[in-house]
Symmetry: C2
Amino acid sequence: MKEGPDIALIGSLIGDPARANMLTALMGGRALTPTELAGHAGITLQTASSHLSKLESGGLLTQRKQGRHRYYQLAEDEVGLMLENLMGFAASLGMNRHRPGPKDPALRKARVCYNHLAGDYGVRMLDSLITARQIEVTGDDLALTDAGQIRIEALGINYASLKKSRRPICRTCLDWSERRSHLAGSLGEALLTLLIDKGWAKRENNSRAIRFTDSGEKAFSELFPQ
Amino acid sequence: MKEGPDIALIGSLIGDPARANMLTALMGGRALTPTELAGHAGITLQTASSHLSKLESGGLLTQRKQGRHRYYQLAEDEVGLMLENLMGFAASLGMNRHRPGPKDPALRKARVCYNHLAGDYGVRMLDSLITARQIEVTGDDLALTDAGQIRIEALGINYASLKKSRRPICRTCLDWSERRSHLAGSLGEALLTLLIDKGWAKRENNSRAIRFTDSGEKAFSELFPQ
DNA sequence: TTCATACTTCGATGGTAGTCGAAGCATTGA
DNA sequence: TCAATGCTTCGACTACCATCGAAGTATGAA
C-alpha cells in the first residue's frame, strides 16, 4: 500500500469536468486567458480562477502575465503527452462525450496536440520521416539522422537552435485517434510551425482541428510521401 | 469545447485516494477480493464495495466469482499501461506520496507491472532481446523475430498458444522508474511467469516488488546479457 | 486622477460523493 | 437446518468542493 507516485492527485485534478475542459482547450496549443478558459468550461471567471490556481500549483499549468492579461498554458511537453495518452485510453474504452459529430473527422485527420501535429497527418508525417531514414528508431526514442539534419535545414529549420534547448528534439506521442505514434518534441513543434508559416495549414478557431489548404495538401504529400 | 474523449470520467475514477490505492494494489497482478482491497485502501468493506462497483462500471476492473469470494482485477492490459504511464507522469512531477523508503530501491530494481516485469530488470530484459535481434522495433510496436520464436520455444514458452489470443504478443509499456520501455503483452506475461516458475524470482507479499534469488540473478544475467 | 478591464480573494450556499452502521443476500460447511 | 463467512444494498451523516455574488487588487487608458 502507498507504493509509488501519487496518481490520485493528478486524477482528481483531471477528474473535474470544468478542469478537464480547460486542459482540453489548452491542448489546442494556444496560451489562453482565464476569461477564455471560463468560456470553454462554461463557468464564471471566479470559478475558473480557482480551478486555474489548482492546476498551476499541481504543476500542470504555468502562467505568464502580459499587461493585464494572464496567459495560461500547459507546463511541459510531458503534460500534453500524458493528456493525449489519457484520451487514447478513454477512447479505447468508448468514453466519448458526444456522438461523433461533424467536427470529429476533421480532428481525426489533423489536429494540434499541444504544440505539434497529430491525427492521420501527424502519424503519416512520422512514418514518412522514418521510411526516408531521416529519423531513426532506437529502442524507445527517436533520433534525427544526418540525412534528417540536412533535410530539416533545407526546410528552413535551424538545427542548432533546436539542439540548444534542453527539450528532446524528437519524441513519440501516442495518437488517440490513430492509436499509433506521431512526432512530438521540439522538431515536432518546429514542423507544425513550418506548415502554418508556409500557409499550407491553418488552425481552426476554438478547436484543435487543423485545416489544410489545397496547395498545402499537395505540398504535404510531396514533402512526406507515403 | 467538448472535443474528443472524456478524460474527466477516468480522472475522477482515479482521483479518489481509496480507489487509487486499490488500483495500485491491483497493479501487483494478483486478483484481489474486496476485503483485501479494503485493507489496502484503509476503508471498510462497505465503502470498498461501492468503489469497486464504480471502477467496474467504468470499465477499469472486472470481477469473477469463485465460491463465496469475488476476485477483482484490472480489466485489460490497456488499464495497466495507462496506470503505469500516469505513475510515470506523477513521478516526473515529483508527486511522491512518501519519502523514498526502504521498499523504494526494491521497486525500482524489479517489480510487477500488472502481469509483466518492470523496473530496471524489465528494461534490461527488453533491451537484451532487442540487441539479440529476437525482438524487432518497427515504428511503434514490437514484433517477435524468427530467432525470437525459436528462443522462447527453447525457454519452454509455447509460441502457438501466445499467438492464439487476441492480445498483442509484444508491446511496450513505459516504465515510471526507468522512464524507458519494458516488455508487456502476452510474451511479457509469459516471461514473468517463467522467471517465477523456475524459482528464480519471487513476488513479495503486499508489494509490487520482485525479489530475485542469487541463482536467479545469475540465470537472468545469462539469459539476458547486457 | 478617474474610469475601465482583467483577474483574484472572500464568503456563503448547495450539491455531491465518500464514509460507515445496520440489515439483507448468497455461498459454504457442519 | 443452522451458523459462519463474504459481500452488497440501504440509509444517514458528514465533509468537502465546485459554484457564484460581492468586494478587493492590479494594470492600462484617458
